[in-house]
């Protein structure tokens, strides 16, 4: 029986690992600086735009006088990049129980890695009712994730709270939806120093094994297609899938993001050492 979320497996997969952060500082607008390393030094690192909730005592009034905008002095100890983990909560992520479980585990694993590295992970579950939580709420959110979303990731993002600027944005999805890859990738990359697109697909998504006359219904849109599935039809599917995924890879490259495909039938530990290894590094 597949567990909804194997927390011990997540812990084992996360043991001794931390999230790999980008080495090159990425300058965004008005000092959205991602620290190359974290530390507790008090030296000023840079400025950034004031955001509601920030301590007004850290406002740089000189910069305010110069620019007319609220600028905050970013202290080194504040330059602690946020990690945003976006989880596609659409119904296709629950095409199989294994796929759903793996999605939860990967998301929790990423949050755990971030926390282990002293980062502040924020989990954004893009479900029918988007939900956001920190590392403390991540497990609970994921365990209760229903994967009932009927909208694609792009539509879900429109309905979700706006993405925050962060250091690392990790998106977990199967990427099997119709969208303009370039536009969506650019949207996801906006405000993030580093972006990683994790594809989690069911083996049946990648290599269907059905045959005969079938009525194929899309899990999310409800679109029905009647096909008599033959070897030729399966070949056509695989071709279209490969082209579709290549589109996402190309889009990721354009925004300097990484596209990491993984299959849900492999345990998390193997994924951590395999296709998802580029995301992690040994912890200190």
């Amino acid at each position: 029986m597949t567990l909804a979320l194997d927390a011990p497996a997540v812990a084992r997969a996360a043991a001794g690992l931390v999230l790999r952060l980008p080495r090159v500082a990425h300058r965004g607008r008005l000092g959205e600086v991602r620290a190359a390393s974290i530390g507790s030094a008090m030296e000023l690192h840079d400025f950034r735009e004031y955001q509601p909730g920030d301590d007004v005592r850290h406002l740089d009034w000189n910069a305010v006088a110069r620019t007319g905008q609220l600028v905050l002095r970013v202290r080194h100890d504040e330059v602690s990049p946020r990690v945003e983990v976006l989880v596609d909560g659409s119904r296709s992520m629950a095409a199989s129980a294994e796929k759903a479980a793996r999605a939860r585990e990967v998301a929790l694993w990423l949050c755990t890695l971030a926390a282990q590295g002293g980062l502040e992970p924020t989990l954004l579950l893009l479900d029918a009712a988007p939900r956001r939580g920190g590392s403390a709420q991540a497990r609970r959110l994921l365990e209760s994730a229903p994967f009932e979303g009927r909208a694609g990731l792009q539509e879900a993002l429109r309905q979700a709270p706006p993405l925050r600027t962060c250091g690392v944005r990790l998106v977990v999805s199967d990427w099997l939806f119709e969208a303009e890859p370039g536009a969506l990738a650019a949207q996801l990359a906006r405000g993030a120093a580093a972006l990683a697109l994790v594809q989690l697909a069911d083996p049946e998504d990648l290599v269907p094994t059905c045959s005969g006359g079938l009525r194929l219904v899309d899990l999310e849109t409800g679109e029905a297609v009647e096909r008599f599935v033959t070897a030729a039809v399966l070949g056509e599917y695989r071709s279209r899938l490969a082209a579709h995924l290549e589109g996402w890879r190309a889009a990721a490259r354009r925004v300097q993001a990484s596209f990491l495909p993984a299959t849900a039938d492999e345990p998390l530990e193997r994924l951590a050492r395999g296709p998802l290894a580029p995301l992690v590094e040994a912890g200190r």
Binding site: A95, E178, D205, T221, F228
Partner: protein
């Protein structure tokens, strides 16, 4: 297309479960996929959202549905084209008088004909019949395509009795009515003769007649004179041996007036003349034999139609005297009635009462009056008078001017009268006729001598004859079968209401008469009484006797073989009779092959996964 076993169409009920299966297959639990858009073929339109997909297996469903339909049609014994025609029987029955002949067993040939048609309908499993009776004017007895039971019932009510005629027109009519110009036609007659040998191809002739001896009247006439009536009767023995028969003449009460023994040689006419002082109808009869209808004739006395003349007041006294003198010269004239016209009308046709069995003869009326009086003949001159010595130009073809000689006549006329000129002198119109038949004599008799010439009585005799001829009634009194008679409907009717004229046959069927004047009738095809009705009251009648020498000759009835053998190439080809083995073969087996082909096509269509169709 026809259906021999309509219940077989119940097999179409299999379409319902077939459709249900296809419908349910569409509603089977679908296979959920993460990305349906990756399964679309290029021909699919990319539309978001759920949509109703048409059957992708509709071709297979179509094959199977058509196979069900083919099976149902086969079970229902559907027949098309020539095969369909076999369930529709086209029959021509001979309507001639000879079909009334009774064989030695007492059964009429007509009854044998009915039995033959019924047997044929059963033999060929005919569901519909078109039956046409032959005659001088063929008529449809049943049809087109009437159900067999109704058609045979109509045949049961049918009774022949028509004069001799050709069968070809009836065959043509039967095909046209049936809507199948090349359909086989079955002709039932009682023997050869006529145009049997020249009937069109596709005609099967069956004879129900038998050879019989018969003695019949071949002619019957009555001449009435001052001393009584003289009957002239022609009798022929259509027998193989000499015979002696007794001819009897009775009056209308049945009292025997005369009895004559006739020695008859086979085929040699014998004439009997019988005088009688009886004034009413006389009935001549021969002993009953195979065809009793041709051994009885009833001869009515000639119609006495004296013209009733009425002279209106206002005429010049001299003219009135001259007219009276002219009219008195003719026998049969009723006394001249001087005075105003009768209040109830001019011709008195509506005054007579007629019972169902007796006809009143209405006297024709000649109304004579002054110019402008509205009378039928208006005599007088108006305006400036001019005398004419001739030459007189006349329309000789007009019956009023038959044998009228104006030589030596001095005719004084006034202004031209209305109507078409009949007699002219120069530009002056002396005699004219209006469109309604009103005659104008534009003459001032005081200054003329026409009333003293030989033209005067001849002219008035022609007028009386003209008026007599315009009286309503038939042109003949005792016609025989096939005779042509005319019936006269008056142009002028002095009564207030426009009359309705109609003819009533012996069967009771009445049909309206349209038109005025002498109206020729079609050849008389049914014996019995034919009545002329005015507003449903009998005005005149004729008694049609069953006298037809050809139909009375029963010696050659029955055998058709000699007729067909002798005709050679002109003989009608008999339609192939269906054999017992043909009954099973008449099914549309092509429907079975079609069903198998459809099922094979369906199996092939469904079993194509190796080739991967979309």
């Amino acid at each position: 297309m026809s259906l021999g076993a309509p219940l077989g169409l119940l097999a179409l009920g299999a379409l319902a479960p077939l459709a249900l299966v296809y419908w349910l297959r569409r509603r089977q639990p679908p296979r959920l996929v993460s990305a349906a858009f990756l399964w679309r073929s290029p021909s699919h339109r990319a539309e978001a959202g759920p949509r109703l997909e048409r059957f992708s297996r509709e071709l297979s469903f179509l094959f199977e549905a058509l196979a069900v339909v083919a099976a149902a049609l086969f079970l229902a014994d559907a027949q098309c084209g020539a095969a369909s025609a076999s369930s529709h029987l086209v029959v021509v029955v001979d309507g001639s008088l000879s079909l009334r002949a009774r064989g030695p067993d007492g059964v009429e040939a007509a009854q044998r004909l009915r039995d033959g048609v019924r047997a044929l309908a059963d033999e060929r499993r005919a569901a519909w019949l078109t039956i046409v009776e032959s005659g001088l004017v063929p008529q449809v007895l049943a049809g087109p395509r009437k159900d067999a039971s109704g058609a045979l019932a109509a045949l049961d009510r049918w009774s022949p009795g028509r004069p001799r005629h050709a069968l070809g027109p009836a065959v043509t009519l039967a095909r046209e009515v049936a809507g199948e110009l090349d359909a086989p036609v079955f002709v039932f007659t009682d023997g050869p003769g006529g145009d049997v040998a020249s009937l069109p191809s596709g005609t099967s002739v069956r004879s129900v007649g038998v050879r019989l001896d018969n003695v019949a009247f071949v002619s019957a006439q009555r001449l009435d004179g001052d001393t009584g009536a003289v009957l002239t009767l022609g009798v022929v023995s259509f027998s193989r041996a000499s015979r002696t028969v007794e001819l009897q003449v009775c009056d209308d009460t049945g009292r025997l007036l005369e009895s004559v023994r006739l020695a008859l040689e086979p085929g040699v006419p014998a004439v009997a003349r019988i005088a009688s002082t009886a004034a009413g109808p006389l009935r001549a009869s021969l002993p009953d034999d195979a065809l009793p209808e041709d051994g009885v004739v009833t001869l009515w006395p000639a119609r006495e139609r004296p013209v009733e003349s009425r002279i209106q007041g206002g005429l010049d006294p001299g003219a009135e005297r001259a007219i009276r003198a002219a009219l008195a010269a003719f026998s049969g004239q009723r006394p001249v009635d001087v005075g105003t016209p009768r209040a109830d009308g001019g011709d008195g046709a509506s005054a007579g009462t007629a019972t169902a069995g007796e006809a009143q003869l209405h006297a024709p009326v000649l109304v004579i009056g002054d110019r402008g009086s509205g009378a039928r003949v208006q005599v007088g001159a108006r305006g400036s008078l001019t005398s004419y010595l001739g030459p007189f130009f006349t329309r000789r073809e007009h019956p009023v001017l038959d044998d009228v000689n104006f030589e030596g006549v001095v005719w004084t006329a006034g202004d031209a009268p209305p109507g078409r000129p009949l007699v002219r002198a120069g530009k002056a119109t002396l005699v004219s006729e209006e469109s309604d038949g009103t005659l104008h004599l534009n003459v001032a008799l005081r200054r003329s001598n026409v009333q003293r010439s030989e033209a005067w009585p001849v002219l008035w005799a022609n007028v009386a004859r003209l008026v007599r001829g315009e009286a309503p009634g038939f042109s003949a009194r005792n016609p025989t079968l096939g005779a042509r008679v005319a019936v006269t409907v008056p142009r002028r009717d002095e009564t207030g209401d426009p009359p309705r004229w109609s003819l009533r046959e012996a069967s009771g069927h009445a049909r309206p008469l349209l038109g005025t004047g002498p109206l020729p009738l079609p050849p008389l095809e049914h014996a019995g009484r034919l009545e002329l009705l005015r507003n449903d009251r009998s005005v005149d009648f004729v008694e049609i006797s069953s006298v037809d020498a050809v139909e009375s000759d029963l010696r050659s009835r029955g055998d058709l073989s000699s007729e067909l053998a002798g005709a050679g190439a002109a003989a009608p080809r008999a339609v192939a009779e269906p054999s017992s083995s043909d009954r099973g073969a008449s099914r549309s087996w092509w429907l079975v092959w079609a069903m198998l082909a459809l099922l094979l096509a369906d199996a092939w269509w469904l079993g194509r996964p190796a080739r991967g169709h979309t």
